[in-house]
Amino acid sequence: MQDSLGSVQSVLVLGAGSDIAHATLRALVKRRARTIVLAAREPASLVPLAEELRALGADKVETIAFDARDTEHHAALIDDVFGRVGDIDLALLAFGVLGDQAQAERDPDAAVDIARVNYLGSVSVGVPLAQKMRAQGHGAIVAMSSVAGERARRSNFVYGSSKAGMDAFFQGLGDSLVGSGVKVMIVRPGFVHTKMTEGMDPAPLSTTADAVAVAIVHGLERGSETVWVPPTLRYVMSALRHVPRPIFRKLPI
C-alpha cells in the first residue's frame, strides 16, 4: 500500500533499463519499496540492477521480458504480473524511443516505429493497468512523458507527436480514474542527460535522471497530477505554447 507520506511498497517498471527508471527505483527502495518487478526487452540486462536493488533492501525482485511493440501481449503480461505478485502500488512507464528524426522523415517504417513504441505501447499497457488497479482500489500510474509533447517542434516532431499522444492519453486516463483510488501522474522532463541523449547538444534547462527521480518521489508525496523537471519548465512551456507558429518554428529550441 502507498502510505500517508506517499511511499510505495510494490513497483512495476516497464522500461526498467532506462536511466530514469534506475534512479527512481533506487530512491523508492531507499524509502519503503520491497517488491519490484522489472520489465524490459532484454531481462538479462536487468540482473545488475536487480542485484543492486536487493542490496539496498528490496526483498523480492523479478525481471521479465517486455517489448512495447508487442501490443497484443500486453494485457496478458499485466494480468500475469498482478496474478503472481499481488497488489502493485506503483506502475512506472519509463519506456520510449527517441528515434532519428531525419530518418523518420524519409522512412515511414522508422516513423511508425517511434509512434508504435511511444504511443501505441502506452495505450495498450495503460488500459489493462488501469483496469487492474481499479479492481484493487488503489495505486499510482506514473507516465514518463516529455516536454517535447507539449508542442511538437520542427526538429523532432515525430517523437514529439508520439509523446503528445501518450500524454493526452494519460491525462484522460487519470480523469477516468477519479474516484477509483487510482492516480495517474504525468512526468514531463526537459532534456535529460541519459544514455538515450548521449552525444546530443543539451537543450536549455536540461536535467539529470536523479533530478527526475527526486521529482517523482516528491510528486507522489504531494499527490501531484503533473510534474515538470525542472519545475520552471512549466512556466517556460506555458509561454511557448502561445508563440505564433511562424515564430515558433524558427526558435533555436
Binding site: M1, Q2, D3, S4, L5, S7, Q9, R31, R32, R34, D87, A135, Q136, G137, H138, G179, S180, G181, V182, E221, R222, G223
Partner: protein, 452 residues
C-alpha cells in the same frame, strides 16, 4: 439486501485514500451474509472513521458500515454494566449513562468513536495508569467471525478475547459489548493544572504523584527548545463528588449536553496550520491555560474532549492532511523520551498537540498498544519537510528501547519493525489462522504492515 455503494475512504488524517464497496448493514444476518460471501479482497468493519490511518479501509474490497446496527443500550444499574450495540458512539452512550450516574470506564480524546471501534483499538484514556485500557472493563462481546458467531468473555476464550482487543477489526465484526461502567456522583471533574518549564520537571512531577489522580496528561510544546525544551502543562483531575460542587451546579449534578460550538470550513488553505501559526497557538496555550483553570471544575467535554467542540477540525490541515504519531516506551527509557522531544524540536516539526502521559499495567492482548511507561502522541501536518525520515528515525529510537507505535494512529510504519514492536505477533498469527483461515478479514493496514 443491504445497501452498497462505492466510496473513497480515508482515516481521520485524510491521507492515502482508497476505494471500497461500503455496505450498510442493519441486521446480524446481513453481517454473516457478508462474511460468507466476501470477494477475494475481503471485508473489514468501520465505525466512525476516527482512527487516523488506514485501519478501517479496504481497497478494492468491502467495508462494513455497522453504524446502523446501533440500537441497543441496556443499563443494568444493579451490576453497573451496560449492554451496548457496537455501532453506538461514545457520545450517544454518555448522553444516556451520565444522567443515570455512570461514566464510561475509559474514554479516548473524542466521543465520536463507536464502541466497536474503541474495542478494536483497545483504546486508552487519561486514566490508563490506574484503570488500564478499554478491554480491561469489557465483560463480554459478540463477535461474528468467518467461522461463526461467538459470545466471548475473558474466561470463555482468553486468546480470542484479548486477541480482539487492539486487533483493528481483524478477528471479526463485533456487534455487541457488555461494558462495566464507573459510577459517578456528578458530571464534573475537579482539576488541577500546572505549568512545567521543562521536560525533566514535568516527567518528575508525573512520577511523583500521578497515582493520586485518576486522570493525568501533559501537553508539551514541541517547538520550545534550549532550556525550555519540553515545557508543558500538566493537567490532572478526578470525578467531583456531589458535596464538592459549587452551589450553582448542585441542582443538576449529572447534567450532560455538550454542543459542538463551531465547525471547520469545508476547505482550508494548505499551510493554514504551519509552523508559525502552531507556534503562536502553543505559546498562547502555555501562557493562558494554567491561569484559566489552575484548579477548579471542568465539564466532561472540556476536560476529555476539547477537540469535539470544533466539528471536522481535521480539515484545517488542508488537502494533504496530517499525521498522528504515538509511541510508548518503557519507564526506564526516560532518555528516549527526551531524545524524541529534542528531535522534534530540532526538526521544527510543528505539532499542534503533543500529549505525554504515563501508562500503567499492560493487558494480555498481543496487539494491544498500551504497555507500562511513557507515551507521547503528536499531530503533525503531512507537509513538514523531511517528515518521512524524521518519523523513521523516531521509529528506530522507539523500537531500540523496546517500545512501539499505536496501530490506530499509524499510517507509515516500516513493516519490518512490526514484529520488533509487537513481539506477541506469532500468537496473533495463530489466532488469525483459527478464526479466519481463508483471510476474509482484510484491510489496508493489514496489507501495508503485512499483519498476519
Amino acid at each position: 439486501m443491504a445497501d452498497a455503494r462505492s466510496e473513497m475512504l480515508t482515516g481521520w488524517s485524510r491521507t492515502a485514500p482508497s476505494a471500497a464497496t461500503v455496505v450498510s448493514v442493519s441486521s446480524d444476518t446481513e453481517v454473516d451474509d457478508l462474511l460468507a460471501h466476501a470477494g477475494e479482497r475481503g471485508i473489514i468493519a468501520r465505525g466512525l472513521g476516527r482512527s487516523y490511518g488506514d485501519a478501517a479501509q479496504n481497497a478494492g474490497g468491502t467495508v462494513l458500515d455497522g453504524l446502523s446496527l446501533a440500537d441497543v443500550i441496556d443499563v443494568d444499574v444493579a451490576r453497573d454494566t451496560v449492554r451496548v450495540a457496537a455501532g453506538i458512539s461514545f457520545d450517544t452512550l454518555m448522553r444516556f449513562v451520565v444522567p443515570l450516574g455512570f461514566f464510561v470506564p475509559v474514554t479516548p480524546g473524542t466521543r465520536l468513536v463507536t464502541v466497536g471501534g474503541a474495542l478494536a483499538a483497545d483504546v486508552h484514556g487519561k486514566n490508563h495508569h490506574v484503570d488500564g485500557s478499554l478491554a480491561n472493563h469489557v465483560e463480554a462481546f459478540t463477535l461474528h467471525t468467518p467461522k461463526g458467531v461467538v459470545t466471548v468473555t475473558p474466561d470463555s476464550d482468553p486468546e480470542l478475547f484479548w486477541g480482539t482487543a487492539g486487533a483493528m477489526g481483524l478477528t471479526g465484526v463485533v456487534t455487541e459489548v457488555v461494558l462495566r461502567l464507573l459510577p459517578v456522583e456528578t458530571s464534573l471533574l475537579r482539576t488541577r493544572n500546572e505549568r512545567c518549564h521543562d521536560l525533566d520537571t514535568v516527567m518528575a512531577r508525573m512520577l511523583d504523584d500521578d497515582a493520586d489522580y485518576r486522570y493525568s496528561v501533559a501537553w508539551i510544546d514541541c517547538l520550545a527548545s534550549g532550556t525550555s525544551l519540553g515545557r508543558s502543562i500538566l493537567s490532572r483531575g478526578d470525578h467531583a463528588q456531589r458535596d464538592e460542587l459549587p452551589p450553582k451546579h448542585r441542582a443538576k449534578p449529572l447534567h450532560f449536553d455538550p454542543q459542538a460550538r463551531i465547525g471547520a470550513p469545508p476547505w482550508a488553505p494548505n499551510g493554514l496550520l504551519n509552523r508559525a501559526s502552531i507556534a503562536i497557538f502553543n505559546e498562547l496555550w502555555y501562557r493562558v491555560s494554567p491561569r484559566l483553570h489552575g484548579g477548579g471544575f471542568e465539564t466532561i467535554s472540556s476536560f476529555f474532549h476539547p477537540l469535539d467542540g470544533v466539528r471536522e477540525w481535521n480539515r484545517l490541515y488542508g488537502s494533504r492532511g496530517f499525521l498522528q504519531y504515538q509511541y510508548v516506551v518503557p519507564d526506564d527509557a526516560h532518555a528516549a523520551v527526551r531524545r524524541s522531544v529534542e528531535m522534534l524540536s530540532h526538526a521544527r516539526a510543528a505539532s499542534f498537540l503533543a500529549v505525554l502521559k504515563r501508562f500503567g499495567a499492560q493487558n494480555p492482548g498481543p496487539l494491544s498498544f498500551p504497555a507500562p511507561g511513557w507515551t507521547l502522541a503528536l499531530d503533525i501536518p503531512a507537509t513538514v519537510p523531511g517528515l518521512a525520515q524524521l518519523l523513521d528515525d523516531l521509529d528506530e529510537l522507539v523500537a531500540d528501547v523496546g517500545g512501539r507505535v499505536y496501530l490506530a494512529k499509524d499510517s507509515r510504519l516500516r513493516p519490518e519493525l512490526l514484529p520488533v514492536m509487537y513481539p506477541d505477533l506469532p500468537r496473533f498469527a495463530e489466532l488469525r489462522a483459527r478464526v479466519d483461515p481463508a483471510g476474509v478479514l482484510q484491510s489496508d493496514l493489514r496489507r501495508r504492515l503485512g499483519l498476519p
